[in-house]
């Protein structure tokens, strides 16, 4: 006898961990500024902003399978562009600067798409990794040598972001603004990754050559994911520059690009929430270790990251989230079993 899809679905239904982790994290972020002093509010704001950068990498690598070692390129280019708008044209409105950052991230990603992703043949992950890393490195070197953007010193003393006549001061106000933006981006990415578009990305990530034989224009899907990643990284770069009041060549280069990769690998690839956990835990650990060992802390941190990446390739989230939930569901549960499928012929392999 054939089992019905609905019964198989009922038996296959699993309790989900990710929504619980997301709810706990959101609750913690919501009350944090009330519970801690100003130093930790500034610290947590940085985590939220860099969390956006980590989300952008998780989208391109964890969902679309593009090994980008150049996310800082979008981050820094948007940071510099917004800093120039603020210092040269005195534009400080968040309603202008954030869209401008998104546009810059998009345009840079578009250029990188044409240089790296598009071609007759599918580019290998190594080619993409080295291509994006080189882009990040070259632009950092250019920024260091270009006096118009401050050379080695970057652009300091940025004015505060404004909304109307109101200044968005670093501290609790900036924190909640960053949290609101992060939440919007997170909800958008969550929706996208669980849509049928997300299913196609999963297919591309797991069986790229097969998808082309179905008729998918694989590179176009990857280009869209890469451009979205660039836009989110750009948003992050603008917020970071105005939170710190400074933008410099380091915000464009391979060190920050690699840091984004490590955050996501440490927290867990392809879950979104893992990327945020990665940023929070790695940055907190870095701070605690730096208080204990003033010079040797990066070695300890590096070893810790190495251990996690080598022995826990699914990241910390892998302890809490089963593989099936990590790969994702794309609305199957809502439809399978809703209607009875047409009854097929008797399975010849069953007695």
């Amino acid at each position: 006898m054939i089992r019905s899809a609905s019964s198989a679905d009922t038996s296959g239904r699993q309790r989900r961990a990710i929504p619980w982790i997301e709810a706990l994290l959101l609750a913690a972020f919501a009350v944090l500024p009330v519970l801690v002093d100003d130093f930790w509010v500034l610290f947590a704001t940085r985590v939220l902003i860099v969390g956006l950068l980590a989300l952008s990498f998780d989208l391109v690598w964890g969902y679309a399978g593009i090994l980008s070692f150049g996310q800082a390129l979008f981050f820094g280019m948007a940071g510099y562009s917004c800093a120039l708008l603020a210092t040269k044209l005195e534009i400080t409105s968040i309603l202008v600067l954030l869209p401008a950052a998104v546009v810059v991230g998009f345009l840079v990603a578009l250029i990188m798409n044409f240089l790296i992703l598009f071609g007759k043949r599918i580019p290998t992950p190594i080619f993409i990794a080295l291509g994006t890393l080189t882009g990040s490195y070259v632009v950092e070197r250019l920024a260091r040598g270009w006096s118009y953007v401050g050379g080695q010193n970057g652009i300091p003393s940025l004015p505060r972001l404004t909304i109307g006549s109101y200044e968005i001061v670093e501290g609790r106000v900036f924190y909640y603004a960053a949290l609101a933006i992060l939440l919007l981006v997170y909800v958008g990415l969550r929706w996208l990754s669980r849509s049928q578009f997300g299913l196609v990305l999963a297919g591309i990530r797991l069986r790229e050559p097969r998808m082309a034989f179905f008729g998918y224009r694989v590179q176009s899907y990857k280009a869209v994911a890469f451009a979205l990643g660039g836009m989110i990284a750009g948003l992050s770069g603008c917020l970071y520059a105005f939170h710190e009041g400074y933008v410099g060549p380091g915000q464009l280069g391979p060190v920050l690009s690699t840091q984004a990769v490590l955050y996501v690998l440490f927290g867990g690839v392809g879950t979104l929430v893992g990327a945020l956990l990665g940023v929070g835990i790695v940055d907190l650990f870095s701070y605690v270790l730096s208080q204990q060992w003033e010079t040797g802390w990066p070695i300890v941190l590096g070893l810790l990251l190495l251990v996690v990446v080598m022995f826990r390739p699914k990241g910390l989230i892998g302890f809490l989230v089963p593989e099936r939930e990590r790969v994702g569901s794309f609305g199957s549960r809502s439809l399978i079993g809703k209607r009875q499928p047409p009854v097929g012929a008797t399975d010849p392999l069953r007695p």
């Binding site: 196609v200 050559p209 034989f213 179905f214 224009r217 790969v327 079993g337 097929g344 392999l349």
Partner: protein, 250 residues
């Protein structure tokens, strides 16, 4: 077993594929007509899979042309060939093992839909009945919500064939569809393929000669990258040249 019409669906003309020190195909000609089941046989290393790859777009020929439905597709990408009505089932199953059986089938069906439709998940509702009907046809409806990697080898092959057939291709390319199957599964696969004759042509590479003889109208025999014989199954079976060169027991 019924033959197709004389209308050419696919023709390969003088296809040559050379690697650094090896010539895998050396001027191969092949014609598949509408509604026919065409078998491609030959010993290991004879160039069967390479020819199939050149037709599907996984490899580009060093020389020669491939024409599909009257259009030269020699340099077309796999996606362009798929959109033109050609579908391929790989030799090694390439389903996505971590995704459910249902999602695998859906992936094969929704390639033509726009990105916007996919983003708003409009395709799932539209294609649901088609997905479940195909799964039922291939006896997989009871496993719809399970990861495809948990299916038996034979069921994975069926899922592959179902996925390849899902978009009503004009030509289905099957690379060793019964590899690793039990005798019972092979028989069932033959029964599943029979009814598709009315809607598409088939080019099949297979080592199981009994299976090939049972379902194919025409055969092409390859050896060392060249065509030894080509024609109706009966003619090829009786060919002295083939018997001498390769198929002594066909």
């Amino acid at each position: 077993m019924t033959g197709g019409s004389d209308k050419r669906i696919l023709s390969a003309c003088g296809v040559r594929k050379a690697y650094a020190t090896l010539t895998a195909l050396d001027g191969v000609d092949l014609v598949v007509t509408e509604g026919s089941f065409h078998g491609l046989i030959g010993p290991n290393g004879s160039g069967k899979t390479t020819l199939l790859k050149c037709i599907a777009g996984a490899e580009l020929p060093s020389d020669g042309t491939v024409t599909f439905l009257g259009r030269d597709i020699t340099a077309a990408t796999p996606a362009e060939r798929a959109r033109a009505g050609m579908s391929l089932k790989f030799q090694i199953t390439s389903i996505v093992p971590n995704l459910t059986v249902y999602d695998n089938m859906l992936l094969s069906l929704q390639a033509e839909h726009s990105m916007a439709a996919l983003m708003f998940s409009r395709t799932r509702d539209v294609l649901h009945d088609r997905v479940t009907a195909l799964l039922a046809q291939f006896y997989l409806d009871g496993r719809a919500s399970e990861p495809a990697g948990t299916l038996s080898h034979g069921q994975q092959q069926w899922l592959e064939i179902a996925m390849a057939l899902s978009r009503d291709p004009q030509l289905l390319l099957l690379d060793e569809p019964t590899a690793g199957m039990s005798a019972q599964e092979r028989r069932a696969t033959g029964d599943l393929l029979g009814p598709i004759r009315e809607r598409c042509s088939l080019l099949i590479v297979e080592h199981d000669l009994d299976f090939i003889k049972e379902i194919c109208d025409t055969l092409t025999v390859l050896d060392q990258g060249r065509v030894v014989e080509s024609g109706s199954t009966r003619v090829v079976q009786g060919s002295k040249k083939v018997k001498e060169a390769y198929l002594a027991d066909v």
